[in-house]
Symmetry: C2
């Protein structure tokens, strides 16, 4: 049975446990084994930093063991996706596993940047698109930073946004899962079975 790692900030949501359980049920109904934060046992260490490292180590091991990743790329506390979710997506990308994304935000990256500054991004003298603070604005018709959309695209995946602003998160996830299932055979053939087998080094929490 192939497994799907469910990455995302869901665990931070007030109803995170229910959300993850609902997604896990859908994954299971599709014939895959769901792997997500809700089903892992994390050791409790004697300080906050060490506990964080222990959680990270468990998640990394689960990522290495998973076949496919589906990432909830909904922005968290700013313009970009949750950094923990991005970490997990990139980790699987480096291991050459199939990766897919979805978000509850229907806006592309550029629009989210405009909304963040409550201003249209503007061009400077050189014609480069910059936000009011002078920071360059990526403009690649993508959902997030080009490393994210590019990595998903290279690996034959897709990132889905709501088709209309109030499409429910469950429906977006469901559409994404359908694509994962449709593409699974083809993606396996293309990416091959050349999974990474390097063991995780021992944790070195202070």
């Amino acid at each position: 049975m192939r497994s799907i790692y469910l990455a995302g900030p869901d665990v931070f949501y007030p109803d995170g446990a229910q959300r993850l359980a609902a997604k896990a049920d859908m994954v299971r109904a599709a014939g895959y084994l769901p792997i997500h934060a809700g089903v892992m046992a994390y050791p409790e260490c004697d300080n906050r930093f060490a506990t964080g490292c222990a959680i990270s180590a468990v998640n990394e091991l689960c990522l290495r063991g998973a076949d496919i990743l589906m990432a909830n790329l909904t922005p968290l506390r700013g313009v970009g996706a949750d950094t923990g979710t991005v970490f997990e997506l990139a980790f699987m990308a480096a291991l050459n596993r199939p990766i897919f994304g979805y978000t509850e935000d229907s806006r592309p990256h550029l629009q989210r940047i405009r909304d963040h500054y409550q201003a249209d991004a503007m061009s400077d003298a050189d014609g480069v698109l910059r936000s009011p603070d002078g920071l360059m604005v990526e403009h690649h018709d993508m959902t997030d930073n080009l490393m994210i959309d590019g990595a998903v695209s290279h690996r034959l995946g897709r990132i889905l946004r709501p088709q209309f602003p109030d499409e429910s998160p469950v429906d977006v996830f469901s559409r994404c899962l359908e694509i994962v299932i449709q593409k699974d055979d083809m993606v396996q053939r293309r990416l091959g079975k050349s999974y990474d087998t390097i063991p995780l080094p021992p944790a070195n929490c202070p």
Copy 2:
């Protein structure tokens, strides 16, 4: 000659080219080959999305070729680090390469969240720390999401913040580079030379 990939949002800064050149000079002076966005040639494609994918593919190839990663984890347009930078750090983590981080923001993750909401994070009935919108707050005495700090720690790296609020970005980078140099032999021994050799699949930009 070992190489250091310089990840970070520097390229977005108005003075990004100069900043990267200065960092590259310091890396070169330390006897390492610097690899960063400023030295790569990116193909221009016939639409924005394809160009983004092409840049991503070049960056992924350079990551696979690099020995060490130093990531500028300064927050970008929100609480968290630049998502492109996080992608690159995680990619190298999955390949088991030495990774290090530094930031121009002296605040830990929790303080940045408090400042983001202009409110103290508060506990709910269960004693869980939550921001005013109900989202759970990670509290692990870390610089960013635990997947980032944890991955760096497992791989014997460090994330440096300014020691005082106005320590210059150059000085923070310099301190980080010193640690990279000090630790390089030891990290190589511990992580070994078991680098990933899976080739990148062909780009499939639409």
